[in-house]
């Protein structure tokens, strides 16, 4: 199964990357962990994200679209980085996540979320719905 692992932001990560010795150490530890993931055939993608001060939000309400500039409040609800892992099951994903060095100087959190797979839709995806989805995908491919 494929999972996305989010590295949740903290107030520290929202400040950007100060070139401290501590930061260098964290990068080294993370590099070693990434290497372990690669050698186990688990990591298939991953990257870090800049603080939300470099980001924008687009708010929807009916027909209106409002662009909101970062930074955004509530650091814990923001994402500082992610991986995509291919694992056998959630237990394995958890076991790997526990091995991750703490990605932040203070308390921090990883969140593991499985991707939807076709069989998850099961009977809910009737032939009519499947066909409609198919048409949508065709249109997307044609663009």
């Amino acid at each position: 199964m494929r999972v996305m692992v989010f590295v949740k932001a903290t107030e520290d990560s929202e400040k950007g990357l100060p070139p401290t010795a501590e930061m260098t150490e964290m990068f080294e530890a993370m590099g070693a962990f990434n290497e372990e993931l690669v050698k186990a055939g688990v990591m298939i993608d991953g990257d870090g994200l800049k603080p939300s001060s470099a980001g924008k939000r687009i708010a929807f309400d009916g027909a209106s679209r409002t662009v909101i500039d970062g930074p955004f409040a509530e650091a814990r609800e923001l994402v500082a980085g992610y991986w995509v892992w291919e694992v056998k099951d959630m237990d394995e994903a958890v076991a790997w996540a526990k091995r991750c060095p703490n990605p932040m100087p203070g308390p921090s959190e990883l969140e593991i979320r499985p991707f939807y797979e076709m069989e998850d839709f099961g009977d809910a995806l009737t032939p009519e719905l499947a066909e409609r989805e198919q048409k949508l995908r065709d249109q997307l491919a044609g663009q």
Partner: protein, 440 residues
């Protein structure tokens, strides 16, 4: 011996009178991560794969007993290895009671290896996966048949149970268990070292490893028999093995070539079979369903293989072919001239009637059906293709496109009679029926 063939860690937990509660499941997940490396190190120590598997399972039992109370240790791999090695040494000692020669070995091994966790940790850190690589090379040794190599690799490196392997190869457990036992005996008999071959020995041994991984992949991608056209979980196992190998040998162009080939082919898995399970040929596939993450990974691995001077390797060339399709956002945008040129090259590097057949298809797309027919006529008599459904299928396609529907119908029917897979047969019969409509 019997313990080594046992199914899952959960079974062992049951045998030890423990339920698979969350703690045990967590421990088993840790064990699964460590298992291959554990067996690799133990096989190198004992020179006996069966014993290594047994010791690894015993280490798991020890962990299931200790860890619920003590917590998972900081270095679980080193802990498990230390536990297994202590048992290995005990075994050497017991044998020593009966055999003086073994006594010397036990003493020597005691002397030469400090069994403390710290030293094991240091050694594990120095190892950089070399032991695991040694195990992969041993399991894929050319002394064993490719099918047995595949089963053994899935068991030792992939950590699949005998039952799972039997399902992968649509075989029964007894047959797979016997295949694995024979393979282990062959390894022991050939005196295979659990080490990475060096110098001139490396290239042929690596080819043997790559062959096994691709064989496993194709078992899932082009199921040779059975009702399902594709079996994605088997492809995923092969991809995982390929990724592990590429992680351990990041500068080997053909390893990257094979990985690129598998990633790009697997990107089409969910588009390859229609809702009714029937084969959807490449030009008709819904490209929006192609897995772009896998395509990106495949293209990256291919670029690296080429940068390392491996553009002409057989796997890299096949990956380059797959990449031509992956890059085309619509079927009409496919660069068939490039595909034709790549097949020309592949035909020189890896001459085979099957490559020639694909070359004919590529040239038919680039230069018209007559060009395809001219090339296919040169290989029609090949013994290797006598019962090969894709040959008459391609011929039927060229004939139909050349406006010769009556001949095309016969070719598709001949192909359907040879198809090994029900879905493929249905597809070919449907094409024959289309030709029939045109003739009438």
């Amino acid at each position: 011996m019997a313990a080594a063939m046992l199914a899952s860690p959960a079974d062992l937990a049951d045998k030890a009178g423990m339920a698979a509660d969350p703690t045990h499941r967590a421990i088993e997940a840790v064990f699964r991560i460590e298992r291959a490396r554990l067996i690799a190190g133990l096989a190198r120590l004992t020179r006996d794969v069966d014993r290594a598997e047994e010791l690894a399972q015993e280490a798991l039992l020890a962990a299931l007993t200790d860890w619920p109370a003590s917590g998972v240790p900081e270095r679980p791999g080193a802990w498990l290895m230390a536990a297994a090695k202590r048992r290995a040494i005990d075994g050497f000692r017991r044998a020593a009671m009966q055999d003086r020669k073994h006594a010397e070995i036990a003493r020597e091994r005691d002397d030469e290896r400090d069994m403390s966790i710290e030293s094991l940790e240091a050694r594990l850190d120095d190892d950089l996966g070399d032991e695991l690589l040694g195990l992969i090379f041993a399991a894929c040794h050319p002394a064993i048949s490719p099918e047995a190599r595949a089963a053994l690799t899935l068991r030792l490196v992939g950590g699949l149970t005998v039952e799972e392997i039997a399902r992968a190869f649509l075989s029964n457990e007894a047959a797979i268990a016997a295949r694995i036992t024979r393979a282990k005996k062959a390894i022991a008999k050939a005196g295979v070292a659990f080490e990475v071959p060096r110098g001139r020995a490396l290239a042929p041994r690596l080819a043997s490893v790559l062959e096994v991984i691709y064989l496993i992949f194709n078992e899932g991608y082009a199921a040779t028999s059975g009702p399902d056209l594709v079996r994605p979980p088997i492809c995923a196992e092969a991809q995982r093995l390929g990724r592990i190998l590429a992680g351990l040998m990041p500068d080997a162009p053909e390893v990257l070539g094979l990985l690129a080939l598998m990633e790009i082919q697997a990107s089409r898995l969910s588009a390859r079979a229609g809702p009714d399970g029937a084969l959807v040929p490449l030009p008709e596939q819904d490209r929006a369903r192609w897995d772009q993450l896998l395509i990106r990974r495949g293209l990256k691995a291919l670029a690296r293989a080429e940068a390392l001077g491996g553009a002409d390797g057989p796997y890299a060339l096949q990956a380059a072919l797959a990449a031509c399709h992956a890059r085309a956002r619509r079927a009409e945008e496919t660069d068939w001239r490039r595909i034709g040129a790549l097949y020309d090259r592949l035909g020189q590097v890896m001459p085979s009637p099957v490559v020639e057949l694909n070359r004919a298809v590529a040239h038919s797309m680039a230069f018209g059906p007559e060009a395809g027919l001219a090339l296919i006529d040169t290989i029609a008599g090949e013994a290797a293709l006598r019962n090969y459904a894709p040959l008459p299928a391609a011929r039927g396609d060229f004939l139909l496109r050349a406006g010769r529907a009556a001949e095309a119908k016969l070719a598709f029917e001949a192909a359907a009679a040879l198809a090994g897979n029900e879905r493929e047969r249905d597809f070919l019969l449907a094409r024959a029926a289309v030709c029939g409509e045109l003739v009438r």
